[in-house]
């Protein structure tokens, strides 16, 4: 049963990524050209609604539908890993025009070359794992 729930959430996510055009290479390019409000509107409105939701969960100590306490893990403090990792991610995001959610959406949309992007993203993750201890974090 829980499996079906995760699958349905994924389907809603995938449809949203495609229909919002957040999975379009052209929208990502346009965003980095600051020529349209579209992507900023998406991220901004997601943040406002998301922040409100998290505030309400904390304020009223809401529980999950399984009755468990909802905890938010604070992210580990650092500067270099977020800045350097972020810059590398941004370079790739603009070039491939897809981040890790939309990548999968584009398989379903029928663009087979995205499989090359996904395979090399998996390889990139693997290489990070190999070099992890040698990188500044």
């Amino acid at each position: 049963m829980r499996a079906v729930v995760y699958l349905v959430i994924g389907v809603i996510f995938g449809i949203t990524m495609y229909k919002s055009e957040a999975a379009s290479w052209f929208r990502i390019y346009e965003m980095f050209q600051f020529k349209s409000f579209h992507m900023y509107g998406i991220i901004g409105s997601a943040l406002i609604v998301g922040a409100l939701l998290i505030f309400l969960i904390k304020r009223f100590k809401l529980k999950s539908i399984y009755g468990e306490r909802i905890v938010f893990m604070p992210k580990e403090r650092s500067f270099s890993r977020y800045m350097f990792g972020g810059i590398l991610f941004g370079l790739g995001w603009a070039l491939a025009g897809a981040c890790p959610g939309p990548m999968f959406t584009l398989i379903g949309a029928g663009y087979s070359p995205i499989l090359v992007v996904i395979a090399s993203a998996i390889l990139g993750t693997y290489v990070y794992g190999l070099l992890k201890d040698k990188l500044p974090h």
């Binding site: 949203t16 390019y29 050209q33 998301g50 939701l53 500067f79 790739g92 992007v117 290489v127 990188l135």
Partner: protein, 185 residues
């Protein structure tokens, strides 16, 4: 129905993304897509060589189901909920892209130059896809998250690390589009 079939405006799309995050929180999980790339490494046996991939991937099976759903959602969005592939980007952006050789800007969902099946026989385009994907995978894990984990989940929870990561995403993206694209395309 027409509203569904057209491209969704930002004020529908953004709250829908927050809804996806909310649903995951309420089933006791979290919204973060790039961790699936790590899970896929582990499934491929990366744990044999590297400590970072030694974890019980079955604990992440739920997130792989979200991925499977995202694939199905992409199919539904593209084939059942769309009649055209055009993406109405700004006319000036279309013009700029035309000068870079992207002639289908404005009329295609993804550029043919990078995502037509003919790229499998085109070394340069393949290299761009490989390098782009590699940087996304490497960078997301180095930064500890991607657009979903940092820009949406992290910023919604006012996490300073996520703000640093998102600033990094933009520095990288701006350098790519403004400084490197004119050299690459």
């Amino acid at each position: 129905m027409e509203i569904l079939m057209d491209s969704w405006p930002w004020y529908i799309s953004g709250p829908m993304i927050a809804l996806v995050m909310g649903m995951l929180i309420f089933v006791g999980k979290n919204f973060g897509m790039s961790s699936n790339l790590r899970t896929l490494c582990t499934i491929c046996g990366a744990g044999r060589t590297t400590h970072f991939f030694r974890f019980d991937w079955k604990s992440q099976r739920w997130n792989l189901l979200v991925v499977l759903g995202a694939i199905i959602g992409g199919f539904i969005g593209a084939h059942l909920l769309s009649t055209t592939t055009d993406v109405a980007i700004h006319p000036e952006v279309i013009h700029e892209l035309n000068t870079l050789g992207f002639n289908d800007a404005g009329s295609a969902y993804l550029p043919e130059k990078l995502f037509d099946t003919s790229v499998f026989g085109d070394g340069i385009s393949l290299i761009f896809l490989i390098v782009g994907g590699f940087l996304v995978g490497f960078g997301a894990r180095y930064a500890g998250g991607c657009t979903s984990g940092h820009a949406i989940s992290g910023l919604s929870n006012f996490q300073l690390p996520s703000l640093i990561a998102v600033i990094g995403f933009f520095i990288g993206g701006l350098v790519m589009v403004h400084l490197l694209f004119p050299l690459l395309f």
